[in-house]
Symmetry: C2
Subunit: 321 residues, 2 copies
DNA sequence: CTGAAAGCGCTTACAG
DNA sequence: CTGAAAGCGCTTACAG
């Protein structure tokens, strides 16, 4: 048996007699053999590694719209998925440079929560590396390699739920952010209220400092002339501030006002009261993104874009009155 | 000029004429040349990659004693530090297997928050890979390659601060966990109260569900016969529950009870009121750990263990009365 | 201080 | 279906 045959058997290339293939598999399993990653990479030009670029800066206070839970889960599951496919997942710092990235020899990259024309996407593209984004890059309408949550359907699901639980009017706390997910959720809210002839109450909230901004915004809403029956806080960062504002304003949740969040997180789960929220399923997004990227690299047909349906976690903050 | 000379110049090996070296550096910079990672790895046996093993499981609810902030920051800075040294940082899933890890060809690993005789350490050791832990593995007293926070000094700093702000007695909410950091903090608390003849009030709290357990424990403390003047909550997970319990028990913070946390986190920063907490400096721990590991790999002398001094962030929850 | 040559462990045309 | 041989791009003894 030649090395060629073994190589072919291991990589599903060429034609190998099924009996030979089986014998090889048996020996490989017994020895725990793994092809040397560098020899393979050197010859094939493929590294067997993909890069992950989170939108999290190194600063203590960062801008994230989604929650830390979300990113940590996303990263963990992305690593596990890659690992299962014998690929390495490299964590790439925000300050990744072209030369540096070239030195790291990744086969492709996953960019999480791109801004329009995100420079991280450009960086990978310049190196001719395939890119999958988690959420859409609105500055690149032609780029269809992304996995996203169904922002419009999600928003409608929350709003319908709030309406069903008796809210007449619903205000939305929207982060000042140009991420696609935010833009689309706000648009969905606008059409939903328009369809019902309800007042449009979008409050743009600064991400930094998110807690205080959300507190101020919510308090203003609840102590104003005609307080809304429900507040939909889009960013995970706003959950705590909104709950605190209701408390301070003397509004009981859910008796006086319903509260729901656009991203599930520990703040929502363990809130006082626990807050209804959309579970965006970072684990499914991570898996879909890694699989899309590996498909792109293998040349296997993949459906893109891929959408992950969120699940509404109904909690005490929107309990039936 | 031969390839040998260039290789020597690039890797600081052998003797190269300074003028030649400079000429090489100039050309390398101009061309943005980077040695092919696989060719180098194949020949040298070094991968130029280190693995990071966080204590975060893939489950939605995980056991972490420290905060998500802490781990995400740690991971980000570890990646950035590795990147600056032209090394890749691989995120390794909790379910990493020996064969799988061998296939990934890392040069060493960083294990965060090991349990005594942590299996992740064993895994790397079995592959003859150097290991650095963040916090100590109490089951391996001989292993000195770790970076840790000064648990005893930190605990005393918090307790002294609470005493200085007028607390007569201090209770400690300690997670039921076998991590070294927890064990040492509890021991430091014990000797601190013993030295002062104060009552020892260690309340073991389950990590899961952390918020509720901490709430229950704090409430019991505050509504019991002789409520303590201060509560020191060691785990980040307990911050929210403790604040809520004080609220529910009708205890004003800091007027009726002082509150401080052992790990700084968003819950403490944005709490109601903001809670005094120890900033464990994940960024410094990450940098120290990566540098220790790379030093180990290079054979350069490194001081080990390395200690990172925490900073007490004094906030409203312990304001002078 | 410099250079010619071997070889790391694979994959891949290519010939049989 | 199988095998002998080349070669991926470096680093490293070794000779000069």
């Amino acid at each position: 048996m030649s090395v060629t045959t073994v190589s072919h058997a291991l990589n599903d290339k060429g034609r190998v007699d099924p009996a030979t293939r089986e014998r090889i598999a048996e020996v490989v399993a017994r020895l725990g053999y793994r092809a040397n990653r560098h020899a393979r990479g050197l010859r094939s030009g493929r590294s067997g590694a993909v890069g992950l670029l989170l939108p999290v800066s190194v600063d203590a206070r960062n801008d994230e719209v989604l929650s830390l839970d979300f990113y940590l889960k996303l990263a963990s599951v992305a690593a596990a998925t890659a690992f299962d496919r014998e690929q390495a997942l490299l964590l790439l710092p925000p300050a990744t440079t072209k030369t540096g990235l070239r030195g790291l020899a990744v086969d492709g990259g996953i960019v999480v929560d791109p801004s329009p024309m995100d420079p991280r996407v450009t960086l990978l593209r310049d190196l001719d590396l395939p890119v999958v984004t988690v959420e859409r890059d609105l500055g690149r309408p032609g780029h269809r390699w992304y996995v996203a949550t169904e922002a419009e359907a999600n928003t409608r699901q929350v709003l319908d739920h709030l309406a069903e639980r008796g809210a007449r009017s619903v205000a939305m706390l929207a982060p000042r952010s140009d991420w696609g997910w935010v833009t689309q959720s706000v648009a969905a809210y606008r059409s939903w209220v328009a369809e019902r002839g309800l007042p449009e109450l979008v409050v743009p909230v600064a991400m930094r400092p998110g807690e205080q901004s959300a507190f101020d915004a919510t308090r203003r809403l609840l102590t104003g002339g005609s307080p809304p029956g429900a507040v939909f806080v889009l960013a995970a960062r706003f959950v705590r501030g909104a709950l605190r504002a209701a408390r301070v304003a003397g509004c009981r949740v859910p008796a006086d006002v319903l509260l729901a969040a656009g991203v599930d997180c520990a703040d929502a789960r363990d809130g006082d009261p626990p807050m209804t929220a959309l579970d965006l399923h970072p684990e499914l997004q991570a898996r879909a993104a890694v699989e899309m990227l590996l498909g792109l690299l293998d040349g296997t047909p993949v459906t893109a874009p891929a959408y992950v349906t969120a699940t509404l976690r109904v909690r005490a903050s929107t309990a039936a009155r």
